[in-house]
């Protein structure tokens, strides 16, 4: 079930009514209903993978209890290793086995040893990377005694399987979400209105911006040789908007939906394309994943406090793992490596924490220097997106070479149609709302109510008028 489908438009109001009107009096019943709705939501993709989700949930729940009950550090560590091993084992089996088997065969081929690897013909369970990381963060936190284990299995299962975040995040932390699930939620009008605004803006991002760009991007990336450098550069820029609209749109819908149920999820995006350097970009892009890697990988490895060499090593590890998390392909690893290369100069010069606050805070426009730095950062990100989007390293190489080859600098043969107006509109709204949690959080709060309501109604019109007519799944579902 996709967020931008008619099915979800029927499903969510029903859940909303059951949640606030039928089951509200009992937290336990309310959570059971929410869990059942979440499992139904997941089963709409493939009910068979419910067993995997349930097993993963049970494994981490029991692991948490066993780790907590372990009398010695060694015993706790043993249970932790078993839990992490099984979790990553499943992830590896479904997501990475074929990649390793094929890569090993390719490597043997280099030495003249022809191999015919045994490949698995399995579908990647949707959301496995996300709910596995949910579970891992929980067992890590229990092991590190940041939280006590949850005894109520329904609460824990809901933490892992809560439908707004189940298939594409944000990757929640037990310390943040579990307490909200364990206490009664009260309906607050301001929170619900904020949720609706974020949900609506997320739908606009996904259905108009991402899907609109996606059609053009598919055409350009399908045959880069047929296009000149201008068109290829346009393709990379459009993909930057596509993936941002797609993933941050999904996150907005997830956060808005959860907020309508009185639950706050972690912010996942914070206007990353207004970043002045790559370090800032990574503080604003897929924040829940970046902070996950920071807390559970980078800092345990020593972070940046163990000398320059180890800092460089740790940065490469975290970016390579982050790339590999996205997909079992060399293109994702190269994408992560390129971002590490972008990041390193900032780290070595001690400039990676220069831009902690939002750009042009309190001002309408950025300075020329800020604008230049944002443009350069965006360009670097776009180049890296080519690796992310390409089908293979060879295809990425051809595309990047095409971007710098001789040919018409101006885009040809691509009619971006209404996107010529919609993209600037989108960026203006995002710019105006960049100091908030999402672009439309306070949009129109000072306007008369009819004007404000009319403005939001106009967004509905833009969606209806310019949405793609083919339903395109969210990109991050494949991860």
């Amino acid at each position: 079930m996709l967020f931008d489908s008619l099915d979800f438009a029927l499903f969510f109001p029903l859940v909303f009514v059951l949640y606030w009107f039928v089951t509200k009096r009992s937290l336990r019943v309310q959570n059971i209903m929410l869990l059942a709705a979440s499992y139904y939501f997941y089963a709409c993709w493939d009910w068979r993978f419910l067993f995997l989700l349930a097993f993963s949930t049970a494994l981490d729940h029991v692991s948490g209890l066993l780790i907590h009950a372990g009398r010695t550090k060694a015993r706790k560590r043993t249970w932790l290793i078993i839990s992490v091993g099984i979790n990553l084992g499943f992830l590896g089996l479904f997501k990475y086995y074929n990649f390793f088997a094929e890569s090993f065969a390719d490597l043997m081929g280099v030495f003249g040893l022809a191999m015919d690897p045994v490949l698995l013909s399995v579908v990647l369970p949707v959301g496995i990377s996300f709910y596995t990381f949910h579970g891992l963060s929980y067992v890590f936190d229990v092991y590190n005694e940041r939280i006590k284990p949850v005894r109520n299995v329904v609460d824990y299962a809901l933490f892992v399987g809560f439908f707004p975040l189940l298939v594409a995040g944000p990757i929640e932390r037990a310390t943040h979400l579990l307490p909200q699930l364990q206490k009664p939620r009260t309906f607050r009008r301001e929170q619900a209105v904020s949720g609706l605004r974020q949900l609506l803006w997320g739908l606009f991002k996904k259905m108009v911006i991402a899907d609109g760009c996606g059609v053009l991007v598919n055409g350009i990336f399908a045959d880069p040789a047929a296009h000149g450098p201008g068109t290829l550069a346009l393709g990379a820029v459009l993909f930057a908007f596509q993936i941002y609209g797609d993933f941050s749109g999904y996150s907005d819908i997830a956060l808005g939906t959860a907020r309508l149920l009185g639950i706050e999820l972690l912010q996942n995006f914070s206007f990353p394309y207004f970043s002045r350097d790559i370090a800032e970009f990574w503080r604003r892009w897929h924040i829940s994943l970046s902070s996950w890697f920071r807390d559970y990988l980078y800092i345990p490895l020593g972070g940046s406090r163990q000398g320059r060499w180890k800092s460089v090593r740790n940065i490469f590890i975290i970016f390579l793992v982050s790339g590999f998390w996205h997909g079992a392909d060399w293109t994702f690893i190269a994408w992560g490596a390129l971002h590490a290369v972008y990041f390193l100069p900032l780290l070595l010069m001690g400039r990676n924490r220069d831009n902690l606050r939002v750009v042009a805070e309190g001002r309408l426009l950025p300075t020329a220097r800020e604008a230049l730095r944002m443009t350069v950062t965006f360009a670097l990100v776009c180049v890296a997106w080519v690796l992310f989007r390409a089908e293979s390293m060879a295809a990425a190489g051809d595309y990047l070479l095409g971007m710098v080859s001789a040919g018409p600098a101006a885009p040809t043969a691509v009619d971006i149609g209404p996107l010529a107006l919609l993209l600037p509109f989108f960026m203006v709204v995002e710019w105006c709302g960049r100091e908030q949690r999402f672009a439309t959080e306070v949009m129109g709060d000072r306007w008369p109510r009819p004007v404000r309501w009319g403005a939001y109604a106009s967004i509905v019109f833009l969606i209806g008028m310019f949405m793609g007519t083919e339903q395109i799944p969210f990109i991050y579902f494949q991860f």
């Binding site: 008619l6 609706l196 149609g417 939001y456 109604a457 209806g464 310019f466």
Partner: protein
């Protein structure tokens, strides 16, 4: 909660109103009511508007033809007239049973035929019918039957166009020019609903026949309703598969299944293989006949209909 729900309800009403107003504005300022998800093409090349306006209700017709471009490019009223038959062709572009249902609902009682020839093409049953729905919405009256058809597509462009067409109809803006009778591509509208192609250069298409037929249950329901409506109006039904080149035919078990489906409902004339594959002078593409092809096909069809007693009434 109460205040939130009331505000949400009010906003939903306002949003619906704003949506319609902006849709109408967008349709009015854009070229011929077209936009990304708005395709109000009045006087389209399928010439349905000419057809709808051309129906002469002063006397009964002997034969009504309904179907896709196979129909309006394949059944010539002039040839039927030569055999003493008054025929009207109510074909529309890529028509599926869903659009046929709307057109029959609107015009069957006006045409009052004795015999209805339903053009049969297997793929019409496998399409949800977005393009033909837009054609019918833009060029025929909008009423509850049209609304039901549009809702059945669950397609935003169809629904937007429906709202816009309804607005044009209510405010009288729909009384637009139906377009020239002769189009740039040489298509000529012939009174009685037929479209004659001027260009007769053969353009080959696909060469591999279809082997699968996967009808949509909704289209089958529409088709059954169409047959029932025609019979309820006192007319006979005959199903006709027009001649097409081999690459556009259905073969094998799927063909047998389609034939069995048709013959279970009404007399079925499968004339898809009337002409030999090499008869490219009789086709201008894989689907459509030249005027020479139409002459031979219609003459043969009328002969068979007469021989089987379908023209006896």
């Amino acid at each position: 909660m109460r205040r939130f729900l009331i505000d949400l309800l009010k906003w939903t009403v306002l949003a619906a109103a704003v949506y319609v107003v902006l849709l109408v504005v967008a349709g009015s300022v854009s070229r011929a009511g077209q936009g990304r998800n708005l395709q109000y093409i009045r006087g389209s090349d399928e010439m349905l508007l000419h057809r709808v306006r051309d129906i002469d209700t002063s006397a009964r017709y002997d034969v009504l033809v309904i179907g896709s471009s196979h129909a309006y490019r394949g059944f010539d009223p002039r040839i039927f007239q030569r055999h003493g038959l008054r025929m009207f062709n109510l074909g529309s572009g890529a028509q599926t049973p869903a659009q046929a249902r709307v057109l029959l609902h609107h015009h069957l009682h006006r045409i009052r035929p004795r015999l209805v020839l339903m053009e049969m093409y297997p793929h019409a049953f496998a399409q949800s019918g977005i393009e033909p729905a837009l054609d019918v919405i833009s060029n025929d009256r909008v009423d509850l039957a049209t609304v039901r058809m549009a809702l059945g597509t669950r397609h935003v462009t169809v629904l937007n166009t429906l709202v816009y067409a309804l607005f044009r109809q209510v405010l009288g803006g729909g009384d637009m020019d139906a377009g020239p009778l002769v189009r740039a591509n040489g298509d000529r509208y012939i009174s009685g609903g037929y479209v004659q192609r001027g260009d007769t250069t053969y353009r080959p298409g696909r060469t591999t026949p279809y082997t699968a037929w996967e009808p949509l249950p909704a289209q089958q329901r529409h088709f059954a309703a169409n047959v029932a409506a025609v019979r309820a109006a006192g007319a006979d039904v005959v199903l006709v598969h027009t001649p097409v080149m081999p690459g556009n035919r259905l073969i094998g078990p799927a063909h047998d299944a389609f034939t069995a489906y048709c013959t279970a409902i009404a007399p079925y004339y499968d004339m898809s293989d009337l002409f030999a594959p090499g008869d490219t002078a009789l086709f201008y593409d894989g689907h459509h006949l030249t005027q020479r092809g139409v002459e031979r096909f219609n003459t043969e069809l009328v002969r068979r209909l007469g021989a089987d007693g379908h023209l006896a009434r």
